[in-house]
Amino acid sequence: MTNMKLVLIPAALVVALFAFSATYGLWFQTLYVDGTVNTGYLEWKIVDQFTSDAEKQPDRSILPGFEGDSFIVPERKDVGWTDCVIAPDGMSATFTMYNTYPCYMAMFSVYFRNTGTVPIHLEYIEFYDGQGNLIVNYTYPNTKLKDFAVDCTGDGLPDIEILWLEPLGEQIDPGERSNEYSWWVHVLQTAPEGATLQYTIKLYAVQWNESEWPIQYTQPGPT
């Protein structure tokens, strides 16, 4: 029995050694591809604004529904005025109209810049009242907007009506400045006396290839 063990042990070692050498003796080569994906970022800011009655300008007027042409109030009345404050983060702008009266009209504009690294597509505009409540989410791409009314004071009655002039849907490449986005505001008969009319706008953009209204290129983009 002892002799049997003495034979089996070396035999097992030999078999193990063969198996071991077969595994490690195999010729092979290992190759790698290391991949790194660095994402860009989406960012834009309002960089400039314009209000038509920011300083000593004669008041302008227009008929309800923006009928006809705007006109300067006779005898060059200069009692109402406007201003605009761009938020520190550049993501919104607040417009205020002081000492206005029905049919008073002002013109406003904003310009913004793509400060990110990805082309953007302007999708829609949100209007907020003076208390920060969302009052209008306006989407109307690639054509002129119709006018719409806004209740700035929260009394349930519209105070102003707005005529958005430029079509949405513009694409802005990184570093580029947008076109002018302007609108007219007409104070309605239902605006309360003694009120300061204030509203805030925010413009929303998405990366160009995920717009709901993409601009069609001759060379098709991804689906």
């Binding site: 195999l26 591809v33 991949g35 994402t39 060379q219």
Partner: protein, 212 residues
């Protein structure tokens, strides 16, 4: 006593005679000198092209693919300023630069656990359509290209091809870095495979699942 001496003498004489017969035998020795020169098992990457699905007027992100400056068996694929819903492609091949056939044994593409999208090989047959789709100058790759996938056998001088496709979903975060690794092991054809790949209990099970 005399007879003993006679026997000893006789035996000695017989022994000397036998020895003389042995040494006197005519003979010829022949030899075979053997030399075994082993071959080499080797493979190298080749880079063909890299492109993405951005139209020409919106070319703000890009993909590059480079050979490591030290390790000949390592490629670096880098996508810069990536964003969702653009697909980035890299066309590569794996050439048998050795002298014996090898077989792709373990081709494993492993994105990070939190990779927000897909990294995969798309069928090599689609490369022509892809290039046409994106407007890239066409590349004549010929027919019958072999893919870089488990079981592909490549003879010396031939290549297996792969089209790496990277696509981010909307879960991708801005200003972030994501990584992936593609590892491929090639083994000499006649000792392949040594053990079943991960996820298979036997080589037979694995082989049965390979494409025709």
């Amino acid at each position: 006593m005399k007879s003993k001496m006679g026997v000893i003498l006789g035996v000695s004489l017989a022994a000397v005679l036998m020895l003389g017969v042995t040494y006197g035998l005519w003979f010829q020795a022949l030899y075979i000198y053997g030399t075994v020169c082993t071959g080499t098992l080797d493979a190298r990457w080749s880079i063909h092209c890299a492109f993405d699905t951005e139209p020409e007027v919106k070319d703000y992100s890009n993909i590059t693919i480079t050979q490591d400056i030290i390790d000949p068996y390592l490629l670096h694929v880098t996508v810069e300023n990536a964003y969702p819903c653009i697909t980035y492609y890299a066309v590569i091949d794996l050439t048998n630069t050795g002298t014996i056939p090898w077989i792709v044994y373990e081709a494993s593409l492993v994105p990070d656990q939190d990779f927000p999208g897909t990294v995969e090989f798309v069928p090599i047959d689609e490369i022509g359509d892809l290039l046409t789709y994106i407007g890239h100058p066409s590349v004549d790759l010929g027919d019958g290209l072999m893919p870089i996938e488990n079981g592909t056998q490549v003879h010396p001088g031939d290549s297996a091809w792969g089209v790496l496709a990277i696509h981010l979903t909307n879960e991708a975060q801005e200003n972030s870095t994501y990584t992936f690794t593609f590892k491929v092991v090639v083994e000499q054809w006649n000792e392949w495979p040594t053990e079943p790949p991960p996820g298979y209990d036997s080589n037979e099970e694995w082989l049965a699942g390979l494409p025709e």
